[in-house]
Amino acid sequence: MPALYVLSVPEFQPLIDYAEAAADLTVTHLGDYRKIEAAGEITIRRAATGLGQAVWFGALVGGIEGEILEFNEKRLMIGPNMT
């Protein structure tokens, strides 16, 4: 299952808030991180999170599980591992 690990700090909180409210995403606590998962693909539009570009492009620092299908200023998509 694809996952995005997000450090729970104020600047990434809008991303965590978005994921907690999104019907297709689940968020679990993992120490200082939040693990965002989806059954199929994780799809997050930057506009829906309200993150500025510099923070958005740094938002994967917590790590991932799976394959990045798309990551640009508009959208992040992470799919399951292909191997």
Binding site: A3, Y5, L7, S8, V9, P10, E11, F12, L30, G31, D32, Y33, K35, G52, A54, V55, G58, L60, V61, G62, G63, I64, E65, G66, E67, I68
Partner: protein, 192 residues
């Protein structure tokens, strides 16, 4: 064998750069950035025949540190002392700190009023920054800390650095590894 105690480093004393524009450099750092010249060294050579005569001048950069320049008299100017334009030329830069949003805004206004091309304020994770260049092309930054990094950030940075080192070898090649590989390794470190 006993380990020697770790000696302390207590701040940046100065950093130094070459310049072939001594007048413009002084006018920029002293008159636009308001940094006081505090020391100057002049020397005829430095022991070796090939060493040019020079003026080495220092500006107080705040909090006890200084920024300094070498003007190597009679030498051919480097075409791009800061390095090539683009990300490589931005890597080695100097960032000052300010304490309030109002000061950051005031710097943006001052630089613009003095004809210095300055970026919009960019919000990063823990700092908000203005970017501009000095007359030599050296990239400069003024930053406001918007959140002081804490133990969470320190622990996270340690894992990122571990993932980086485990993913990439030193040197020009990265053995086909990508940042995605590094992020996957980081995810494993976070989730174990």
């Amino acid at each position: 064998m006993t380990d020697m105690p770790m000696p302390a480093l207590s701040g940046v004393h100065h950093t130094a750069f070459a310049t072939w524009k001594p007048k413009e450099t002084v006018e920029f750092y002293r008159d636009i950035l308001g940094l006081k010249p505090i020391h100057a060294v002049t020397a005829k050579g430095w022991g070796r025949d090939s060493h040019p005569d020079f003026v080495h001048f220092f500006f107080a950069a705040g909090a006890g540190s200084a920024i300094a320049f070498f003007y190597y008299i009679g030498t051919e100017p480097m075409a791009e002392p800061a390095g090539p334009r683009g990300y490589l030329g931005m890597a080695r830069h100097t960032a000052w700190t300010v304490e309030t949003e109002a000061e950051l805004d005031a710097w943006a206004a001052r630089l613009q009023s003095k004809g210095v091309k300055v970026s919009e304020a960019i919000q990063h994770e823990v700092i908000r920054s203005l970017y501009f260049r000095d007359p030599n092309g050296y990239p400069l930054e003024i930053s406001l800390t918007t959140r002081t990094p804490d133990a969470r950030d320190e622990a996270d940075a340690a894992l990122t650095i571990q993932a980086m080192i485990e993913t990439f070898a030193d040197g020009p090649g990265s053995q086909g590894k990508t940042i995605e590989d590094m992020w996957r390794r980081k995810g494993e470190l976070v989730d174990r």
